[in-house]
Symmetry: C2
Subunit: 300 residues, 2 copies
């Protein structure tokens, strides 16, 4: 229904509805039609839908297809990264190459050809370079990286810190507060990443710091917006009820918090966001608790 409407109007009435779609884009709601003959399959779905989608496409894709995931989340319960979900479900297709794309890429701006940069990561750097050639334009600059774990974890965990940054905004704190929270949040993201096998440098890149900045400082960010409303005193239930699009960070916070517990990683900001979201803690008390922690070094 939505597909036929998009086909007719040449635009999507639900998302970015003023954007005229290029004529080369073929719209279909039939997954076998979408996949027929595809050499690259781009999975742009919410994280919680990734497993079901990959199960569905498994029998329909070619042996040598390249699969590119754009999802930024961690699967609840399993703590799988999105490329791990894809790999598990498509594992019978041994020649399938899985890559991920992440970065400071608000769709609202990319759709308007506003200059931006992004990163494509794949364990096989040749595949990353192949996708770089495909997606690079004069306004969309693609970098490569071979650290899939780091790129995916950055994209997912930054949403937790974006909720914290939003809470700070909602409470009326300043630019100093937010920059401090983001930086100490990045330190948590790195600690988790190192334990999971990511490289530290990746978090200083587009999928780490870059996406963190774009998410924490932009009016386009849904995760920051959730935080801001929490900071102003609204309940999570009310906020989620009124949002049509997914704020991945709400789910990701639970997953990251549980991963931190399991691995014994100190993540005080993540823990605070978890307590606000799931244990009804007062946001203002969280900020106070964070400021009152023992004196420490930046570099432990």
């Amino acid at each position: 229904m939505l597909a036929s409407q998009i086909k007719e109007e040449g635009r999507n009435p639900r998302y970015l509805s003023t954007l005229k779609l290029p004529e080369k884009v073929k719209v279909t709601s039939q997954i076998d039609e979408a996949l027929a003959g595809a050499e690259i399959v781009v999975l742009a779905v919410p994280s919680h839908a990734m497993r079901q989608i990959t199960k569905t496409i498994n029998p329909l894709i070619k042996q040598k297809v390249v699969v590119l995931s754009l999802a930024k989340g961690i699967e609840e319960g399993t703590f799988c990264r999105m490329s791990e979900v894809v790999e598990e479900e498509l594992r019978s297709r041994i020649k399938t190459k899985i890559a991920v794309l992440s970065g400071p890429n608000h769709a609202e701006e990319v759709a308007q050809n506003i200059p931006t940069a992004t990163v494509v990561a794949c364990g096989d750097i040749k595949i990353a370079q192949f996708l770089q050639r495909i997606f690079m334009t004069s306004w969309f600059r693609v970098y490569t990286n071979d650290d899939v774990i780091g790129v995916e974890l950055g994209g997912a965990t930054k949403n937790v810190i974006a909720i914290a940054a939003g809470i700070s905004d909602g409470l009326g704190f300043g630019d100093n507060t937010k920059a401090s929270l983001m930086t100490r949040g990045l330190a948590e993201m790195i600690r988790l990443g190192l334990v999971m096998g990511a490289r530290r440098e990746t978090f200083a890149g587009l999928s780490g710091v870059g996406d963190l900045i774009a998410t924490c400082t932009s009016r386009h960010s849904r995760n920051r917006a959730v935080g801001e409303r929490l900071g102003k005193g609204e309940s999570l239930a009310k906020i989620l009820k009124e949002m049509r699009m997914v704020a991945e960070g709400v789910r990701t916070t639970k997953a990251v918090y549980q991963m931190a517990l399991r691995h014994g990683i100190e993540m005080p900001i993540t823990e605070s966001v978890y307590q606000v979201l799931y244990e009804n803690k007062n946001p203002r008390d969280c900020v106070e608790d964070l400021m009152k922690r023992g004196a420490t070094s930046e570099i432990k």
Copy 2:
């Protein structure tokens, strides 16, 4: 004259003029009076004034004084960091300990007790911890670091990237553009830092990413404001004439650009800012040139 006015009114009519100064603050324009018996000397002066000030205080300070520099710049011509200037000028005082403080700390907000974090660096970590105890409050959270080079270079070089971010704002680009520029700017800061002996991790901290974020995204930042006006087509001469306070980044850009040339470090964003500031290059052409550079990896 200003000093007596501040003493009389209990506030500084020129800077943060609505702020009531604490009664414990003693105001003087006599440098020997300011230094008499001091155990800690805090140097909060513009970078270009640092050498003259330290020359002046050299005969007046105690042998065992701790000197803390807040300046964020690089000396023109010599390419000295501020702590190097201090060390050169006070070198006869061999027991003097030199530390630096840097971070996402807009004075406008710190003065209002808005929560923020900062980092104090000293080669002697015990001195850093001593200053941490002195400056830490429930709204000003101090971390320590022993990487003086990294902390100082972060604080100085981020001003160059802030001008670039401002230019992007002035040209009307988006949140994606700015986050991308900041991230690739950080990559340049790190490349320079590593050659100069800094640690990579420091740039992911409060004096690197933290200060970069606070400077590039805040209405309080003079460097970002200079960039924004350049992006809108104003001339540098006109902008500087109308600013009362120092935009350190204008001077720092020249120093950093020359350091990059000397050491053969690739710093395309810094080079672009240099060309806009000193060679009259059109800002819009710079963005285009940056986007059109050859395809590359994040991690070379």
